[in-house]
């Protein structure tokens, strides 16, 4: 954002003030996440920087809270449950969501926007309402306090993200490629796996990552539908913050920040690759 030569001093002053304001807003966005990381190495059970930490005294730092995290059966169970539930919920929502998106982006789909509205509603309805409804209904059919119940609930909450990302990838999809495959003798199944899947794969994967983080980060539904046996990392954090607040939670938070950095970089890579590919392909 270079300033043109004719800028007046007042405009220059405003320009730099504006940049400072933007800097402060970015600081507001990122600082709380960054501050968690050093705090998790605190040697004493406080949620703030001690004098030793500020003077970079090695005695002020320790890996105590990480030991506590990796040594605790509660947390180990939570990590296992989190991955187990998130992986299966992602598989269900990605499969169903991708197939539905293929149907939704066909021109001959009747009442497209109404159906889209219904399929996306799990993302819009306040999660406390979904959780309350699922609690009653899943208890009635014997699915509450089971892994299957939580997986199904999370899969329902994750599908909108898959539907949205895959439909976005299918915008401008060249269906003549499929017809070309058919004229060359490919059966519809072959054409699907050899032509459609490779082309929409980036969208499917980023949808799957969204579905994964939705389940991995979800706490309200687990609190209502699940029990201690289904405790996930957020479940454990939520009860930890409510009961006895210990820096172990900050250690968990630091590890989760790393997970989110990994997920974010994968999604960004896929998005840019998709943009590049579609920039080349004629519409």
């Amino acid at each position: 954002m270079a300033l043109p030569a004719y800028t007046t001093p007042l405009e220059k002053l405003w320009h730099y003030t504006y940049l400072v304001i933007c800097g402060l807003i970015f600081f507001f966005l990122i600082a709380p996440i960054v501050v968690v990381i050093p705090l998790s190495f605190n040697a004493v059970p406080f949620f703030t920087f001690t004098e030793e930490m500020l003077t970079f005294d090695p005695a002020g730092y320790s890996l105590k809270w990480y030991h506590e995290f990796f040594g605790s059966l509660n947390w180990q169970g939570a990590v296992k449950n989190s991955f187990f539930i998130a992986v299966f919920a992602t598989l269900i929502s990605t499969t169903l969501g991708t197939i539905a998106a293929l149907g939704l982006s066909r021109d001959d789909m009747p009442h497209k926007s109404v159906i889209m509205g219904i399929l996306i509603s799990p993302m819009i309805v306040p999660v406390i309402i979904s959780a309350a409804g699922m609690y009653f209904f899943y208890t009635k059919i014997g699915l509450s306090s089971t892994h299957i119940g939580v997986i199904l609930a999370h899969a329902a909450l994750g599908t909108p993200f898959v539907v949205i990302t895959v439909t976005a990838t299918l915008v401008g999809f060249d269906y003549s490629l499929v017809r070309a495959a058919a004229t060359l003798g490919a059966s519809p199944t072959t054409a699907f796996f050899k032509i459609i899947v490779p082309l929409i794969l980036p969208g499917v994967i980023s949808g799957a990552l969204f579905a994964f983080i939705t389940s991995f980060d979800e706490v309200v539904v687990v609190l209502f539908v699940g029990s201690y046996e289904q405790r996930t990392i957020p479940w454990q954090m939520f009860s930890g913050i409510r009961e006895q607040i210990s820096p172990t939670i900050l250690a968990v938070a630091t590890l989760l920040v790393i997970v989110s950095i990994l997920l974010l970089s994968s999604v960004e890579m896929l998005r840019r690759r998709g943009e590049r590919l579609r920039g080349i392909a004629p519409h």
Binding site: M1, Y18, I25, L29, I30, P32, I33, V35, V36, F47, T48, I92, L96, I99, A100, G103, L104, R106, D108, M109, P110, S113, I115, I118, L119, I120, I124, V125, P126, V127, I128, I129, S130, A132, G133, M134, Y135, A155, A156, T159, F161, I164, T167, A168, F216, D217, V219, V220, F224, P234, F238, I241, L250, A253, L256, S260, I261, L263, L264, E268
Partner: protein
Amino acid sequence: MISATADPDDTAQPIVTADGVPLKVSLARAQRRGKLKAIGLVVPLFLFILITFFVPIMDMLFRSVENQLVGEVMSRTIPLLHEWDERSGELPDEATFAALAEDFKAAAKQKSSGKVGRRLNYEKPGFSGLFRKTARKIKSAEPPYQQALITIDKKWGDIEIWQVMKRESTPYTLSYYLAAMDMGYDDAGEVVRNDDKSRIYLKLFWRTIWMSLLITSLCLILAYPIAYLLSVLPTAKSNLLIILVLLPFWTSLLVRTTAWIALLQQEGVINDIVVWLGFVADDNRLAMIHNRTGTIVAMVHILLPFMVLPLFSVMKTIPPSYMRAAKSLGATPFTAFVRIYMPNTVAGVGAGSILVFILSIGYYITPALVGGQSGTLISNFIAFHMSSSLNWGLAAALGSILLSVVLILYFLYDKIVGIDNMKLG
């Protein structure tokens, strides 16, 4: 009008496909097949959402009007009560009292009278105790039952008890909705507003709405400058800066809430800094958490990316030549910005604002952890009635009011932005 292609109906021989089927029929068949294929692809997900999501919510909403319990357990008393005139000023007759005693004896086996007592207790405190006491002592009751029941508890001689029981014996009730709107019945059975002291929910709804509005406006004020900066920077730089927006978006909600607890609490980082700077005395640390401030700050931080991203995607499409044209026509930078640039961003402002408002009006986790007393929202009360007070009917009534507000906004969002245009990341 002269048509270049002949109308098939006019020709003596209709155009047919290779296998002799008229083209029109064949086309219709192919279109129908295509339609069925499209529907067939959507059906699995549709059924899945229906069973795992829609039916549960409908089932819960039904609880806000459902009221079978009283009529079922008190099946002998209720029909008799319906013949009783509650305005007569007299107690029901001996037959009704006898039916009540019999109902209590029958209910003792299934222990269901306690549930009815709890249900009626929502309408008038005291019912729960009355029903427990009666259930305990009913075995030794002898006719005449009117006398016997009043001896067990003199409340049975109170006409109001019978009036409430008669009113709440219908299979469907509106009393949960009345309670959710701080209303109830007076002694004469008319709908009235509760007295000032016991009005909770309307205040709570207003608080939820104005806090959501405040959070939405703060998000807009903070998001607008940085979205603008991102949209005018060269792609390489903006790709780098947008990471700063996307990282919070991808970071666990509980991590961000925990971070704000670490920052805002009494012995937390911000308090330490202001004490160290000497702005505040050590024994007079700022109370920034477990109150409204904590909720607002943490929620603005959590929802800010949802405002930046739609604004950014709209601002990216505004050609910079618009502003240059305005300036070349003599507008000051300020005028050009207000008259030319801002109207062009209205779509993004609308999309972001509705999205943030929808998300904040139903927020639960953050207010529950950092909200304390004054920062709780309507969701927290729904959760309270779900898991602590177990007044599920009231939870369902509050939930359905909240849900209808959200659905109206969702409908608006669809009209303004279109659901198909929703983008992520």
